[in-house]
């Protein structure tokens, strides 16, 4: 089984919840990304999601957009991100996923991208602009390399859930609200009901993300899902602290420790 899925399934079997932390590679600089990944690791992330910046990130809110833009302005290359990830994996067994847009993979070369992921130790890809119907774009290449494509679910997925989750691996990424990463609205009014519908349609671990920024949010989502995903709040903390790994680690611990209570 995919190591990332294994980790989340093991936690579930032990009656525990998973904490998935996100950061954008190259923000504030690629030299600081390794230290920040290690900060997320020490802070209690069970899985780390590394964002590969893209010039036109449709699914991201202003905070993550700006982080990616800062990285792109420094001419961040995909290869440099691979190098940092490789070094991280030399010291840590924490499963990793890339948050990456379809174009980055297509332009890099689908086979080459998947093989690189495998080689450096990335287990899964979260591709926000690749819904179930278009997964054929990269599915064969991902399967061949043993890389999981994380399926998405949204409050408006409705009947789609009966077929979009069937071939999924890793976990189901459930968005907590309509819109983009971060929060400029409340969690969706039908959140509990829709997460329940996701669980009826899959045995995969279920994770909730978008707009989770406080201990209260973490506890609320852990009540309905197997794992919580925190992205924007961490990216904002990285920005505010100018990439201080100790501040970031403390912030991640503050949130992840809410799962222990």
């Amino acid at each position: 089984m995919n190591p990332l899925e294994r980790r989340l399934r093991d936690l579930r079997a032990q009656g525990k919840k998973g904490f998935i932390g996100y950061l954008t590679a190259g923000d504030p600089s690629i030299a600081e990304t390794l230290g920040l990944m290690e900060a997320l690791d020490r802070g209690g992330c069970d899985v780390i999601e590394v964002g590969i910046p893209f010039s036109d990130p449709l699914a991201d809110g202003p905070v993550i957009q700006a982080a990616g833009q800062r990285a792109i302005e420094k001419d961040l290359g995909v290869e440099e991100i691979f190098q940092v990830v490789r070094r991280f994996k030399e010291k840590s067994g924490t499963p990793l996923a890339f948050l990456v847009y379809t174009n980055t993979i297509v332009v890099y070369g689908k086979d080459e991208f998947m093989r690189a992921c495998k080689e450096i130790g990335v287990d899964a890809l979260i591709v926000p602009d690749l819904p179930y119907e278009e997964q054929g774009e990269i599915k064969a290449e991902a399967d061949a390399a043993g890389i999981a494509l994380i399926p998405f679910a949204s409050p408006t997925s409705g009947d789609r859930l009966t077929y979009t989750l069937k071939e999924g691996e890793g976990f189901v990424y459930c968005v907590s609200s309509m819109g983009v990463t971060g929060r400029d609205s409340e969690f969706h009014k039908d959140l509990d009901k829709y997460i329940a519908a996701v669980k009826e349609n899959t045995d995969l671990p279920v994770a909730v993300g978008f707009g989770i920024s406080t201990r209260e949010d973490v506890v609320r989502m852990a009540g309905i899902a197997d794992a919580v995903i925190v992205g924007t709040a961490i990216v904002r903390k990285i920005e505010e602290s100018k990439g201080n790994p100790f501040v970031v680690e403390a912030f991640v611990r503050e949130l992840s420790s809410a799962l222990e209570s």
Partner: protein, 402 residues
């Protein structure tokens, strides 16, 4: 309904947009099968937009060029000054039919924004237009026009602060508010069903042209020229002629300061090295760097300033049903001047690209051959740009083309 043109097109969007897109597709199919909807759309095209537009025999231009007979399809005579209104009326009527009260749109120079604000005013809907902050400053007059029409104009500060970023922002807003909001896309781009829907609302250009030329000449033209940014006026013009393989279809991309300068909006021409990729919900040919980031396009005409192309054009290029040529800023300005002086028609800078390419080629064609140029819009909106150019000469061209 087919979601792709060959390998191009598709629905590369977040999961949250899949249901709204499926609902939109169903509503579009249902509307087009309803004679009452089609009749109402045609009513507004005639009585409100002022169709049909003339297919004008440009006698002086033909004589001056000394080759093929040149006809001009006068889309510049539409209400709001360009072909954009054809599509907007269709989409806003569809929005009303779906019970949506609010429309959003992206705009570059402001033409599509003005057309959408116009239709929203006509049908009593609220309207928000997303526009890159750079463009808000450059196109002050169009911003004011939209505001006069009752629309809210939201400056977009992300990315390169131009059309592509305005489009991203409109899509993001649509994800949030799809339940009560209709997103009016201005070109044959974006996720399915938009490229098909926009083409179908623009095909009136080609349908009329086909009928008009048969009436006037008793035969189809040898070549048709239209400019291509995203490609809605050209797709609307080309589509009814796709099966008439004796008619050569020529799309004209904006060469900016020249392909070699890197400052251009050419994706299909082989020299531009457009790459297959995924952008704004569609798989198509794009300008990207080696890390997969989109390279901003450049053109003197804001309407052609797009780093991709509609997926059906990518397909027509791939199967070689259409030929794609390049016209630089300088050449477009020459085309602009010639049409203005010989026929008293001031074309949009976008349309001037099609004119320039056609004039170059028409001279070498026999006198009994026939070409049609789509004059997609009028040039009033560009007079400020042209004035700057006349004041500053070539250096002005470079500063305008930032």
């Amino acid at each position: 309904m087919k979601k792709k043109f060959g390998e191009f097109g598709g629905q590369y969007v977040p999961e949250s947009l899949m249901m709204p897109l499926q609902e939109l597709e169903a509503a579009f199919i249902d509307a087009m099968a309803d004679p009452a909807f089609v009749k109402e759309y045609e009513y507004y095209l005639e009585e409100y937009a002022g169709r049909e537009t003339p297919l004008y025999y440009a006698k002086h231009l033909t004589e001056k060029t000394g080759g093929a007979k040149i006809y001009l399809k006068r889309e510049d005579l539409n209400h709001t000054g360009a072909h954009k209104i054809n599509n907007v009326l269709g989409q806003v009527l569809l929005a009303r039919r779906m019970g949506k009260k609010h429309v959003i749109a992206e705009t570059g120079a402001g033409q599509h924004g003005v057309a959408t604000a116009t239709a929203a005013a006509l049908f009593g809907m609220t309207c928000t237009v997303y526009m890159g902050e750079e463009d808000v400053h450059r196109q002050e007059l169009n911003v004011f026009r939209m505001q006069l029409l009752g629309a809210e104009v939201v400056p977009v500060v992300s990315g390169s602060k131009t059309l592509k970023d305005a489009t991203n922002e409109a899509i993001r807003e649509w994800v949030k508010r799809a339940e009560d909001t209709f997103y009016v896309i201005g070109s044959v781009v974006g996720p399915h069903p938009y490229p098909t829907m926009v083409r179908d609302f623009q095909r009136v250009i080609g349908d009329e042209t086909r009928r008009q030329i048969l009436e006037k000449e008793g035969r189809l033209p040898d070549r048709i020229y239209a400019c291509v940014g995203g490609g809605s006026n050209s797709m609307g013009m080309f589509y009814p002629f796709l099966d008439d393989t004796q008619v050569e279809l020529v799309g004209v991309e904006a060469g900016g300061l020249g392909i070699a300068s890197g400052k251009h909006a050419v994706v299909l021409h082989p020299e531009a090295k457009g790459t297959l990729g995924v952008f704004q919900g569609m798989k198509t040919i794009l300008l990207t760097d080696k890390n997969g980031n989109i390279i901003p396009a450049h053109s003197i005409s804001a309407g052609l300033d797009y780093p991709g192309v509609g997926p059906e054009h990518a397909h027509l290029n791939h199967i070689k049903r259409a030929r794609y040529e390049v016209v630089t800023d300088q050449e477009a300005l020459e085309g602009f001047e010639i049409l203005t002086r010989t026929e008293g028609i001031i074309p949009a800078l976008e349309s001037s690209h099609a004119i320039a390419c056609a004039l170059k080629e028409a001279a070498a064609m026999p006198k009994d051959s026939i070409i049609v140029i789509n004059v997609s819009g009028r040039g009033d909106k560009d007079t400020h740009t042209i004035m700057e150019y006349y004041k500053q000469g070539k250096s002005g061209l470079e500063s305008l083309n930032k």
